[in-house]
Amino acid sequence: MPMYGDLGNKLVQHAKRTQNLAHLPPYQTELVRGVTREVRDLDKDVASLLEPFQGSFDPSADQATACTLLVNHLSMRRNKRCLLAYHRTRTDKLAELVWSGSDVLDLAGHQAGGANGAPAADAGASSSLSPQEEDYFRQYGDLLAAYKGQWTDIDLTGSLEPPRDLFIDVRVLKDAGEIQTEYGAINLTKNSQFYVRQGDVERLIAQGYLQKLG
């Protein structure tokens, strides 16, 4: 028998699975909507239960109603906790993705094309983020960039692995244009190989433009 809180539980099970994944699974729009609808229904129930009392409800005089109210209240509180925990799990993951430099919005970018057609179905297929999450991701990225900007000679998101060699061989997988290094400019065209300072190209490797050799 479906009960209040069951939908919320499903949402938290999604969150549990998300914790063990490297990527972010699709946002559960329907479930979230279901849970919030449940809260609204419960709130309506509470209002109509209390209505005849005109603000002077005495719990000890009407225990059955008091108990019903308590159950409704607890169900709403439970749903709130499930909703918050689900979203928090995802925002934590998003923050992690921003720090690791992955470009989630690259994926989301394709969504723009389907926006005028059938948005709901299209958006679900191409982006696993809700619009609010995309905003969060973008703004968190901006914040991080501003924070990092305070230190010019240290890269806060750089690799924590101490390098074996300062210089490495890389192969260019995608055209990445010209980059500036201490030793002058290098033009990164597809399929060319370079011997460069690791610190200069770390970001490009992380973004998949370059491949480290050897």
Binding site: G5, V12, A15, L49, Q63, A64, C67, L70, A85, T89
Partner: protein, 196 residues
């Protein structure tokens, strides 16, 4: 156990048997009969998040009785306790409850169960050393046990211990994963040193 802790939320969804102490017209749905009123004395399995507060809250009458009384869930019942007393390692806790210890801790917050507390403590200590033993067998064969299929976990299950490891509850699983990852990184680090 933070407010946002996923495992703590899932533990709160575990159900325990409750008995209602008063008639409540609007709560029939809890007993699968939405059209009828819920009679005093009806036994219903309620999730902890609901049962806990209903058991603590006071109905407000003179005797100070609460809305529901509760019993220990079957997962912590006499059969299980006896089996744990005999050999903690032989009981697949997961079959009882995926959040076995969480459930136990909750129940002990609600009622005094001295014997249960002692049994659980001994159970954990005995099983933890067994968990540690299995976790140290890193890099062995059979790295993808059947446990891996569930929840995408990568338990390093190898042969004989598989049965035991499948019976771990969530908390023990976390412990296993930590111990396993720790041993593995330690080993990798040692190998990295030798190369240089």
């Amino acid at each position: 156990m933070s407010y946002y802790d996923i495992d703590s939320i899932l533990t709160d969804a575990e159900k325990i048997p409750c008995t209602f102490q008063i008639d409540i017209p609007d709560l029939g749905y809890l007993d699968n009969t939405p059209t009828q009123s819920l009679k005093a004395g009806t036994r219903v399995n309620l999730p902890l998040w609901l049962a806990e507060m209903l058991a603590i809250a006071n109905t407000g009458d003179a005797e100070g009785k609460s809305f529901v009384t509760f019993d220990l869930p079957p997962a912590l019942g006499n059969d299980v306790v006896q089996a744990l007393k005999a050999d903690p390692r032989a009981v697949p806790l997961r079959d009882q409850s995926a959040h076995f210890y969480g459930l136990g801790t909750h129940m002990m917050e609600l009622s005094e169960e001295k014997e249960l507390a002692a049994v659980l403590r001994k159970t954990f200590v005995t099983r933890a050393s067994e968990v540690a033993l299995h976790a140290r067998k890193v890099g062995g064969v059979g790295h993808r046990g059947k446990g891996a299929a569930e929840e995408g976990s990568n338990l390093g299950v190898g042969g004989a211990g598989e049965e035991f490891l499948r019976g771990l509850d969530e908390w023990e699983r976390k412990l296993f994963r930590k111990a396993h990852d720790g041993a593995k990184s330690g080993k990798e680090w040692m190998e990295g040193i030798k190369k240089n």
